[in-house]
Amino acid sequence: MTRNEFLTKLADELKKNNITDADEIISEYEQHFAFKMADGFSEEEIAARLGNPVELASQFESHVENIKSGGKKVTTVLGLVFIDIFAGAFFVLLFAWEIIMAAFAVCNAVAAVCLSIGSSPWSLIPPMPYVPAIVFALSLTALFVLTTVGCIYFAAFIRQLMRSYGRFHKNTIAAASGNAVLPSLGIYPRLPAKTNRRIRTVAMISLILFTTCFVLGMILSMILSGSLEFWHEWGWFGYNAVK
């Protein structure tokens, strides 16, 4: 008898005997086959050693507990549905934040490009001399890198959070129906140590670069315009340029 013949026969017999959690039983025998085959036994040998599936199936007694816990399971599933509604809303918020962060990152990149090539689409970029513009462009590029890294990490965080929630969901149902539960998952993404180090380095460098260039740009602008409030001089934010 091959592995499939044995398992099919066993499943049929279990069904005939009204065994409720037949899937769990079958998976035990599947594992038995997997282990034995890894040890180099043939499917026929393993099936022969396991015994007659008809006889084995008759040794399983139908579960009385499962019928008893039926009511409990319904309550658990109802409770889970309510939790799901709140968790769903929460995940929508997380996704929204991810989208906002991504949009912010893209804006930074576009602004940096505009500053460095000296174009100002729809006059959105305030006028300034080229030197502070290139310094600000550098600062915005660093901010773009920083927010992009943030986006990537946050996406990993959402993914892990969803997996963790999924595991909780599955385990709660499994526990209510008397099946074995899997260990729960942490909510923080477990990235390889190397990736973690890289993310930290890139974030640190871009943060420092952003701050330095931003402050430098401000100082340069003040010097070039000859005024602390250089935005008055250059007519930003609707101020009339002081000529």
Binding site: E28, Q31, H32, L50, P183
Partner: protein, 108 residues
């Protein structure tokens, strides 16, 4: 040896094995078939019976590079039952041995 003899004590053997540490189904089956001549598949109905009686519990544990394994672990009730039945069985087996060995001597 008659299969009915063995089945009665298999439960006791499984509990004695689980008293030391948690095992997964395949390990238990391998252990029993190494020591006692039974069909490999017999252990799974037995484990399920022990579980439904509350003498053992199960939990899943993820192994690296494989599907999660179902581990069996003895409960407090399982421990108590084991100690009680162990004493009963040893006492019973001793009496049986006494009688049977005595019979053997008579024939000589």
């Amino acid at each position: 040896m008659n299969i009915q003899y063995k089945k009665g004590v298999l439960e006791l053997l499984v509990l004695s094995l689980l008293k030391k540490q948690d095992w997964y189904g395949y390990e238990i089956s391998e252990y029993l078939s190494r020591h006692i001549d039974i069909a490999d598949g017999t252990v799974y109905p037995l484990l399920r019976k022990l579980k439904s009686e509350g003498l053992v519990t199960t939990y899943m544990q993820e192994e690296s590079g494989g599907p999660p394994r179902k581990y069996y672990s003895i409960t407090n009730l399982g421990r108590e039952t084991y100690e009680k039945e162990r004493a009963e069985y040893l006492n019973f087996a001793q009496r049986v041995a006494e009688i049977l060995e005595g019979d053997n001597n008579d024939q000589k």
